[in-house]
């Protein structure tokens, strides 16, 4: 598998943009019961469109960047997002055209990464994190709602980059 420079660039731009938008716009929305995570949905989109290697790279990169801009140790979100990108990328989605499948995958990925993050943080923290599990359903729901707006866009961009690489 070849790595196209255009694909790499657009992936990096997308990741940086998602991390910044997440902090400055999306986390600011006063939504009840949690909030969407644009970065996670983007990683799922990249993995669905471009496979496990790209998903893993996007997830790891986005995770490290988000870690560096926050208060918890570097590597926590990198593990979670990297694993999500890898596992989603392994799913066989080439024949699928509808939005239903990405929505289901995002829901499962959101719940999985949330629990993985909770597990790592509870190892690092003395306090209990179990009280925070209440926002899990809300978070998953918001991520699912974000999917139809993000995943098709990523798919289009990935197809353009792929065509460009084959030319």
């Amino acid at each position: 598998m070849r790595v196209s420079p255009l694909g790499l660039t657009s992936g990096a731009v997308g990741v940086v943009l998602a991390v910044i938008l997440q902090g400055t716009l999306i986390a600011r929305l006063p939504l009840p019961g949690g909030g969407p995570n644009l970065v996670l949905v983007l990683v799922v989109g990249v993995a669905l469109a471009a496979g496990a290697t790209a998903g893993m790279a996007a997830g790891f990169g986005a995770g490290v960047l988000a870690d560096l801009l926050s208060a918890h140790p570097v590597g926590v979100l990198a593990i979670c997002f990297g694993l999500v990108g890898f596992m989603v990328g392994l799913l066989d989605t080439s024949s699928e055209r509808s939005i239903f499948w990405p929505v289901v995958v995002t829901g499962v990925a959101a719940a999985g990464s949330f629990l993985a993050y909770a597990a790592v943080m509870s190892l690092l923290r003395s306090g209990s994190t179990s009280s925070t599990l209440g926002v899990l359903p809300g978070t998953v729901l918001y991520d699912v709602m974000l999917t139809p707006f993000v995943v098709p866009v990523v798919a289009v961009v990935a197809r353009r980059c792929d065509l460009d690489a084959r030319r």
């Binding site: 496990a52 890898f86 306090g127 925070t132």
Partner: protein, 290 residues
């Protein structure tokens, strides 16, 4: 489900080991301070720019729950001419910030605090439960690690990391946050811990001290708490009698953590403990209905 190629399998193992190593190094202390401050230097201005663009949106949406309380004001204004009304509506968003600044000034004045005003430029990359914000002030502005952060209504949190021109604050509602507090009046001490979107939870030091709904809490000297004393924290909304006489309570924070905008970092605390003096007068608060 496709099975991963050899190379992919190797890559994911390498990334996992690398992440685990990062976590260990950073958890033990300071290995990533340089990288963090570099990233903050690059991203600070970008976040500031985005935040300036989107901030009004957040402030507007954050203000929606309060629209009912400005009804009387609007009714009064309607008596004036239509032009004036439209003008006022256009400037409504900016007046929100000047009101925040006025209230922050009032709190700082009452408590004799020296505060550095700051604007929230980014919220933590939370997966729903890490509660941090990034402020547009850093060590260049005199901010240091561990300083207390307030807004016009009370306690916001504590500075966790400081870069040259930005800093990361862990909010009081973060599940890892615990604040030493004192009950108004009785002066009993206790600990308030965060639990995300749910109310704060209050554990009194003396379980038989007596708590009732409506009791107000301020930061106080408890254990190793480094918060500036006397900052209003919140109000007891529910008392949970536990087993063996251990009573805990739910506390509603005064500060709306989901719509933080203008805050202040307390660089110098009061010389003497202000005790309850920074709490607003009770009848006024009751009249407001909150």
């Amino acid at each position: 489900m496709k099975s991963p190629t050899r190379r992919q399998r190797l890559a994911i193992v390498v990334l996992l080991v690398l992440s685990a190593m990062f976590v260990t190094l950073d958890y033990r202390g300071g290995s990533f301070d340089g990288v963090r401050s570099g990233v903050a230097t690059v991203f600070g201005p970008v976040q500031r720019g985005f935040s300036a663009t989107f901030g009004p949106v957040g402030r507007f949406l954050g203000g929606i729950p309060h629209i009912g309380s400005t009804h009387a004001e609007i009714a009064q204004l309607q008596r004036r001419n239509a032009d004036l009304r439209r003008q006022l509506r256009l400037s409504g968003i900016d007046s929100a910030r000047s009101d925040q600044l006025r209230r922050l000034d009032l709190l700082a004045g009452t408590g004799q605090l020296r505060v550095v005003p700051a604007v929230t430029i980014s919220f933590g990359p939370s997966l729903g439960f890490e509660w941090t914000v990034t402020l547009d002030v850093g060590s260049n502005d005199g901010v240091a690690e561990g300083m207390t952060v307030v807004d016009g209504d009370g306690l916001v949190g504590r500075v966790k990391r400081v870069n040259d021109s930005t800093s990361v604050v862990v909010l009081a509602v973060d599940p890892g946050s615990s604040v030493g507090v004192r009950q108004e009046g009785s002066g009993s001490l206790g600990l308030v811990t965060g639990s995300g979107l749910s109310p704060l939870s209050y554990d009194p030091l003396d379980p038989r001290g007596g708590i009732s709904v409506g009791d107000r809490l301020v930061t106080g000297p408890y254990g190793g708490s480094t918060y500036v004393p006397g900052i209003p924290v919140g109000e007891v909304t529910h008392v949970n009698p536990g087993h063996g006489g251990q009573v805990t309570a739910d506390v509603r924070p005064y500060v709306k953590m989901t719509s933080l905008d203008l805050v202040g970092v307390v660089v110098t605390g009061p010389r003497t403990d202000p005790r309850d003096s920074m709490l607003p007068r009770k009848p006024k608060r009751l009249a407001n209905g909150d």
